[in-house]
């Protein structure tokens, strides 16, 4: 009897391990995560509009219909990228996600404090290789470090009322996301 109880206990403990491993591995096996859903409409290292969520026709669940959205699907393996987003009259935000959809950084227009949100995105490796001249440390250069080589940047502009949606969409259509090597040097 004791022997069977011990087997039972061992099974339950092993079950706990199975549970933890399953939860940890699940994100890798997901076939319908946000990155996969956005890939068909989002070219790499460019800004693409995300279709406005409509009933029966949404790219992702839990999208806020009061916002216009655009996405930049990035790949840093060839080098860092530069992002520039004009600020809409109401509210604009830029959120960074890893390949697995983890929001590792987000900033809004007020935190950025200007008419244009300008950011550079690079891996920590690329950042450590930056030349250490003084201009690099200038405060007006906002650098975001990506924990992964690939991921998503979600740009969102609020339309405080439905009639202002075209304004929000046109602001986002002027946003750019491109490899740094293609940016003209000053």
């Amino acid at each position: 009897m004791i022997r069977w109880l011990l087997w039972l206990l061992a099974g339950a403990l092993l079950g706990g391990v199975v549970h933890l491993v399953a939860v940890l591995l699940l994100p890798r096996t997901a076939t319908n995560d946000a990155y996969t859903r956005l890939s068909p409409i989002a070219p790499v290292n460019a800004v693409a509009p995300v279709p406005q969520p409509l009933p029966q026709n949404e790219v992702m669940p839990f999208m806020d219909p009061a916002f216009a959205a655009a996405v930049c699907r990035y790949d840093l393996s060839e080098g860092s990228i530069k992002l520039s987003v004009p600020v809409s009259p109401a509210y604009t935000s830029v959120s960074f996600y890893t390949r697995r959809g983890i929001a590792y950084y987000a900033i809004n227009d007020r935190a950025a404090g200007r008419r244009l949100i300008e950011l550079e995105l690079m891996t920590s490796n690329q950042r450590s290789q930056l030349p250490e001249d003084e201009e690099v440390t200038a405060a007006d250069r906002l650098i975001v470090e990506s924990p992964t080589n690939t991921g998503l940047i979600l740009l969102r502009a609020l339309a405080p009322e439905p009639g202002l949606m075209p304004v929000a969409q046109s602001v986002l259509s002027m946003a750019t996301c491109r490899p740094e090597s293609q940016t003209p040097k000053h």
Partner: protein, 192 residues
């Protein structure tokens, strides 16, 4: 032989417990670090690097992008103030004020987080659209039939959830008590 049987029993139990617990936690959307205020709950950590493994598994499965903590915070309500699940055949009154935020939006979703169509093409309100009383408080009717004032149509669905998103708001991981953060009350009036 008994060893083999015992081992087999242990393995079967391990598989049942392990996969059963995984299915249970994921279908119920378990995540740590919840900030519950009345019927509303937010998971501010889910929008940051400190997201827990359960929330990671959940977002990978649902395909959503959680709102980043530098952007805003999302409060979800599945029930009214008394804990009764929200039913689209009932007249529900949302009343009160919202916590400090530059903007907020209220959105009506089905339990999977998708929008529900209706004849007036309204799935929510923004803080700018809402009609308020002189003191800044407001009433929103979430009801199957048209109401005067702020009416959010339910289209008669049997279950739904409400998401209140606060943008550029001090509410977040540090928020603890309801008295610092006044959320609108949710009360069922009548059911048809």
């Amino acid at each position: 032989m008994r060893l083999l049987l015992g081992l087999l029993l242990a393995l079967i139990i391990a598989a049942a417990v392990g996969l059963g617990a995984t299915w249970q936690t994921l279908s119920h959307g378990v995540a740590f670090g919840a900030v519950p205020i009345g019927p509303w709950t937010a998971w501010p950590k889910t929008g940051s690097r400190e997201i827990d493994p359960y929330a990671r598994a959940n977002i990978a499965r649902s395909g959503e992008l959680p709102i980043g903590s530098g952007d805003g915070v999302a409060f979800i309500a599945h029930t009214d103030d008394t804990g009764r699940p929200l039913d689209g055949r009932c007249d529900v009154l949302l009343s009160g004020v919202t916590p400090q935020a530059r903007f907020w939006t209220l959105t009506f979703y089905n339990p999977q987080g998708y929008l529900i169509g209706n004849s007036v093409n309204r799935q929510g309100f923004t803080s700018q659209e809402i009609l308020r009383r002189a003191d800044g408080s407001f009433d929103i009717f979430v009801a199957p039939r048209a109401r005067s004032g702020n009416w959010l149509p339910t289209n008669g669905v049997d279950s739904y959830l409400l998401v209140l998103r606060l943008y550029d708001s001090p509410v977040g991981v540090e928020t603890r008590a309801a008295r610092e953060v006044p959320m609108p009350a949710i009360a069922v009036q009548t059911c048809s």
